[in-house]
Symmetry: C2
Subunit: 336 residues, 2 copies
DNA sequence: CTGTTAGCGCTTTCAA
DNA sequence: TTGAAAGCGCTAACAG
């Protein structure tokens, strides 16, 4: 693999001149430039950005640490990140933590070694020591989708609390009282916020006695299992609120297997939609967040942090995207 | 950010000794090792893999060049790649080409600059100049999901032709004659193979006169649009064969909008399933490929190529994963 | 407009 | 068991 020296020698110039041609920096006569370019083509020279990074201390790479690229919310978000990063001249490394703090720590360590210019992080837990570590190493971070207890970071997320409130209120307005929320892990801010929004709505409508929620996982299996458990109890809910799209799908699967009709026997609503491109017959009433925009916005903030590296730490921002209630069939009509 | 020199100075040893401690290579006395480790912790030293890469000429990074991470087939595949790569000590950079040859070329150039150790490529077109370029630079490549005209590469893919044959034959056995195939781009081997399998099945059952297929895109929009066009013709099909899952979903959407009932008015079958975790009520009859396993296998091959770099080029392999017919409701029952 | 020197952070010789 | 020197490929800083 030819280096800048090989090109220089063959073109009869100094390496720095080749560097100038490659980077379009400084003065190079047209004559020399043409000559050098010819040799570059001839040799198939490709600049080594590793060497460049070693000097410049910039890798033009950012990392996206998410829980699972297989979840549509996150893969669309990843696409938003990728597109925005590419536009800004950055590459993206994606890491899946599966909600494991240990995996997250591993990856952060690895990314630090790789000297990525910045990190977009969906933290596994609300208290993130990763953030402190990154801060210590001056690696900019933007927290996505969730917030953390640590201060001094930018956060970009959807409004879980208000979304959960709206969705619950919608069910209450339909006449539901026994509404069961199947939330995610109790270590994650979105799960907690959704519970909070739900409780608030129940409380505001004097339904405290009916408050019924579970923390589980953000997965189809968790949704299915919790649903089966709930329906083995004496008191059955008239509505189920899935903590995210996978949970809701799990709930629907379980209900179908048990022969329980939606929305006739029980209403179902979901936080997070299923992407349009994957549903030929949209059925679920949902609160919809904009994952692509969230990824894009977070990346833009991260990039600006990277570029203003030396600046006085401008105030950190928390961007909360509004969410949208989309009413479809699964919530059914008025009750009683 | 501290370097190996800072650690060395503070520990009162030479940089190389620190290097030996970090890498567990060569002889270091327990006394010195303990001392050095203490300083490493104290300073929060993190090795710089860029400098290491510059020397070793290995980045421990591979790239996955796919069309779109948003497509469930590819994001599950990406997960298979990620998991296998991590196990082998490699990081993954994911690039989305959106089936554009130009984007693909851009990315290959970029990845070459980054000196990734190997590339997993879903080529946009059947004749790939990227492969020649990579070969010239001694960068191992494994082609995924599709094959190319160029020889001398490893390929890992599903059996499109046989799958399309099975799916078509299944419809024929149900009594269908007017079967329309909505395939993907005519520059892509999977589209071509699926047309070929379809034609062969039609031919084998003396239905040549009913052969009816279209090349389009592998997207929901394409599936929807082609479906609308087909149903505006005088002769309507009794069965639609979607070239991939997105196309099929698009077809189903369009049919629903036109008030055409599936499977009562028209049967629908699909190449590629919708992941279990995303469908609460599996409806489509499909040919199912194993994307996770494909990604995993391709990564394993790539890693072994990377490690045997200097070896005599062992024979290249083409791994073709068998596909599975899953019969569900959308194909309906016997016709006539 | 072009070239020389030096150094980014690490590791592979080769010596001690 | 430890260290000194050299160099991976590139580019600032400073000549010329």
């Amino acid at each position: 693999m030819p280096t800048i020296h090989d090109v220089a020698k063959k073109a009869g110039v100094a390496p720095i001149t080749v560097s100038r041609v490659i980077n379009n920096s400084g003065y190079v006569s047209d004559h020399v430039r043409t000559k050098v370019n010819a040799v570059i083509d001839e040799l198939g020279y490709v600049p080594n950005v590793i060497a460049r990074s070693l000097k410049s201390k910039r890798t033009n790479t950012i990392a996206l640490v998410i829980t699972d690229i297989t979840n549509p919310f996150f893969n669309i978000l990843a696409r938003g990140v990728e597109d925005a990063a590419f536009k800004a001249g950055f590459n993206v490394i994606i890491c899946n933590t599966d909600e494991s703090q240990e995996q997250e720590d591993n990856y952060i360590q690895l990314l630090l070694q790789k000297r990525v210019d910045g990190i977009l992080l969906v933290p596994a837990e609300t208290h993130s020591q990763s953030i402190e570590l990154l801060r210590k190493h001056n690696t900019p971070v933007v927290i996505i989708d969730r917030y953390v207890e640590n201060g001094g970071v930018d956060v970009v997320r959807g409004d879980s609390e208000s979304g959960a409130y709206q969705l619950t209120k919608f069910l209450i307005d339909l006449g539901h009282k026994r509404i069961t929320l199947l939330s995610g892990p109790d270590t994650v801010s979105t799960s907690i916020d959704r519970v909070r929004g739900y409780k608030q709505a129940m409380c505001d409508h004097h339904l405290n006695e009916f408050v019924d929620y579970f923390y589980g996982k953000y997965s189809q299996e968790s949704g299915a299992q919790l649903t089966r458990e709930i329906f083995s109890r004496k008191e059955k809910p008239t509505a189920i609120f899935g903590g995210n799209n996978l949970v809701s799908i799990g709930a629907l699967s379980a209900l179908r297997q048990m022969g329980i009709k939606v929305p006739d026997d029980v209403a179902v609503v979901s936080f997070d939609d299923i992407p349009e491109s994957l549903s030929y017959d949209p059925f679920m009433t949902v609160i919809s967040q904009p994952p692509y925009a969230i990824g894009q916005k977070a990346t833009e903030i991260l990039v600006s942090r990277i570029k203003n590296d030396q600046d006085v730490p401008v105030e950190f921002q928390e961007v909360v995207f509004p969410v949208e209630l989309i009413v479809r069939e699964s919530s059914g009509g008025k009750v009683n």
